[in-house]
């Protein structure tokens, strides 16, 4: 199939940037969206034009590197997948596809479609851990039984891949789904309880400092999240935060 692409190009963080139009041909439905971009890039290199920069690594939906706002939606029109798992069979011959970087003040553009998501890392630095030493003198793993439901919920929260689609989809560029997943993962486990108050306050403070917007519960994040991180986590974050603010 043949496609018309309208792609955001920007030399570096300071440059102004704008859209460029490209045509690609010979695209097969079995290709992934990123493989389609590979084809385009290969053509560009052959023409001596600098190819389009985009983040990617695992290409199987787990590393969270790939991003891309595709036709107005993060990770494109399909659900519960990342851009690298989006297949071209979702598009038709002759389609026009608009490709932009994820937009948020806290995610400045690095180049073309590559963005800087280190704000997420800083939120995790602020409290995304349990303070145990890695020395190997811990107690036996089975000495703390954990209710299966809590263990599972913690696991589901922990499956967040840190891609940033939640921020990109949110009309307020809010990072609440991400932060709530990180907080919930620990809040649901007895090991995480000890530092729960401190953790939630530090992480929320950092989240605010990074310049993300406020959550207005539109739920767009959940719909676009490739891992289906539940909105319950946001409620839990609110709850944890309130109780931490009141009781400590």
């Amino acid at each position: 199939m043949k496609l018309k692409l309208k792609i955001w190009r920007q030399e570096d963080a300071q440059a102004k940037g704008g859209f460029q139009n490209y045509d690609v041909d010979g695209i097969d439905g079995d290709m992934s969206f990123l493989e389609m971009l590979d084809v385009l890039n290969n053509n560009l290199v052959n023409e001596g034009i600098e190819p389009i920069e985009f983040d990617h690594d695992c290409r199987e939906g787990i590393c969270g590197s790939c991003s891309l706002q595709i036709n107005g939606e993060p990770h494109g029109p399909d659900r519960r997948i990342t851009t690298c798992q989006l297949h071209m069979r979702k598009f038709k011959d002759g389609d026009e596809i608009v490709i932009e970087p994820f937009r948020a003040k806290a995610f400045p553009v690095v180049k073309d479609l590559v963005i800087d998501r280190s704000a997420f890392d800083r939120i995790q630095h602020a409290g995304g851990y349990i303070s145990v030493n890695t020395s190997g003198n811990t107690q036996d793993a089975n000495s703390i039984p954990i209710e299966k439901q809590n263990a599972d919920d913690s696991f589901y929260a922990a499956t967040c891949i840190g891609c940033g689609a939640c921020v990109a989809a949110c009309k307020n560029a809010s990072a609440m789904l991400f932060t709530s997943a990180k907080v919930s993962q620990f809040a649901l486990l007895p090991q995480g309880e000890v530092e729960a108050h401190e953790r939630v306050i530090s992480m929320v403070n950092q989240m605010d400092k990074e310049g993300f917007g406020n959550c207005t519960n539109t739920g767009a994040c959940y719909v676009e999240c490739p891992k289906g991180i539940s909105l319950e986590n946001i409620a839990r974050l609110n709850r944890e935060y309130l109780s931490a603010s009141v009781f400590s």
Partner: protein, 667 residues
Amino acid sequence: MSVLESKIPEGPIEKKWTKHKNEINLVNPANKRNIDIIVVGTGLAGGSAAATLAELGYNVKTFCFQDSPRRAHSIAAQGGINASKNYQGDGDSDYRLFYDTVKGGDYRSREANVYRLAEVSSNIIDQCVAQGVPFAREYGGLLDNRSFGGVLVSRTFYAKGQTGQQLLLGAYSAMNRQINRGKIQSFNRHEMMDLVLVDGKARGIIARNLVTGEIERHSAHAVVLASGGYGNVFYLSTNAMGSNVMAAWRAHRKGAFFANPCFTQIHPTCIPVSGDLQSKLTLMSESLRNDGRIWVPKHEKDAKAIREGKLKPTEIAEEDRDYYLERRYPAFGNLVPRDVASRAAKERCDAGYGVNKTGQAVYLDFKAAIERYGKEKAFTSGHKNPSKEEIIKLGEEVVESKYGNLFEMYEKITDQNPYKTPMMIFPAVHYTMGGLWVDYNLMTTIPGCYAAGEANFSDHGANRLGASALMQGLADGYFVLPYTIGDYLAEDIRTGAISTETEEFEAAEKDVKDRIQRLFDAKGKNPVDYYHKKLGKIMWDKCGMSRNAKELQEAMEEIKELRDDFWANVRVTGKAETKNAELEKAGRVADFLELGELFAKDALERNESCGGHFREEYQTEDGEALRDDENFRFVSAWEYVGNPRDAKLHKEQLEFENIELKTRSYK
């Protein structure tokens, strides 16, 4: 003759590690504050090492090329992590884990290292649970286990199909704590371009800031390389796109020996290649072989008709199918180890029985399992006379509950429904057992340069068992390196900060800059990927699942030619001063083009078949691997002397004092 000193401690195997820990030098806490360590790589090995070293008090700098340490390739591991906890009470022990790993590795690994690995494995689970890693649990609240290929116990801990992700996030959380304390400085989107030696010791690295293109000098008292495996030398593999050999190869060029480069694991159950423009292969978990039956058509004409799209697999009658694994290996059937299963698939496809448009695929069929489970389910729910439809419906539900996410993933990629038509699978490059040679302390042949995780060669011999790479990475990082590195650093407590304003750093930086310039200067006509794909094809065709001397020699020639052509005709667009993915790829492919040749040479010189290394000349009458313990019971460690083909071989003889050498048989 050997310059290889493995430094294996004396004493009985189960005492070696404890004894060693008691005897090695330590650095006192106050002095640790004056010592800097560079950790290249933030996967399970690097992340866990960095966190622990920082916690001990060292100043740590970490490097990774991704935008966050948490995205290292370890994140993609699916199945699980082994530990000899014996929670299931099924007779597991450190010894058994040790034994299984050595045997699984076809007796080409170092006993002492493997035993230590088994010994600390339990600690890993304790550690991870304390950190909040949400492993799967049973209803009673205790940890659950599953079993993996090649072993007789259930010792694999897991978190659904995302074990690597959860473990890496655990290691990253430990890093976070140290970053927050200021003990780790993490340099993300930074690529190590060279190792810097001062007076023969590793004292720093040259790194490229991938955002600004700046070439930076970083000094330290020791350098840890945890940069992962080099499976991408095959272009197509299950590795992440960025996985590369640069860090290890640069160290190799500076004097670190490269061990067993040809030991590569080809995983039998991956989604087959669908087209020329494919960039990456996807693993389908090994666990599928518990219930799927592998087959190809019995008659060549049927296989041909299928390839041409004239026949559907479901139309082939039971008696016209060849369940070749069950036929060849009645004892283990579909559950033979990875290397055996992969070779058997290749054998059938080469003989003309392959399916898929390309002829490079076999079927993994769940029909029998669906019917079996369906009947069981119907029966247990009191339904004594179920119709065929009911059985299938119930069976599909059971299969969904076990493998639902994998089936979904398969369908997303191939657009075929694996409940209704058999899956197609084919072997793909997955893991590299070879890597930098290290001694018992994980130090390479360069003093002060350590290697951990998939980047070293240490524990898996010629074939790795499932769920043991994660174990090894974390064992190295949490429990081994933090001790052993102190032994070396104890001598550095008075050295003071290492200056980067020295000739050595100057020279290394210049080399790196010149090399980048040379890549741009080629100004040729072929994109980097053109070379990577060509290299991959040579590797796959001639150094892949089965190898022979003639083709390996050809491969060495072809790779050399390709490398020369690369340096003359590659086209790298853009500038060195900005983010430039083409330049990043070019640097990595340039190193693969050297490694590939050494790989072929290693395979050529190893005149035996063992584990993942299958030499057609060395097989039994019925096509099984023929190991030669008399002549090849050693680790090949290659010293760089200029051209990869001229590399000098050093042998580390392997002694087996605790395990009797046997021929692996799965019949």
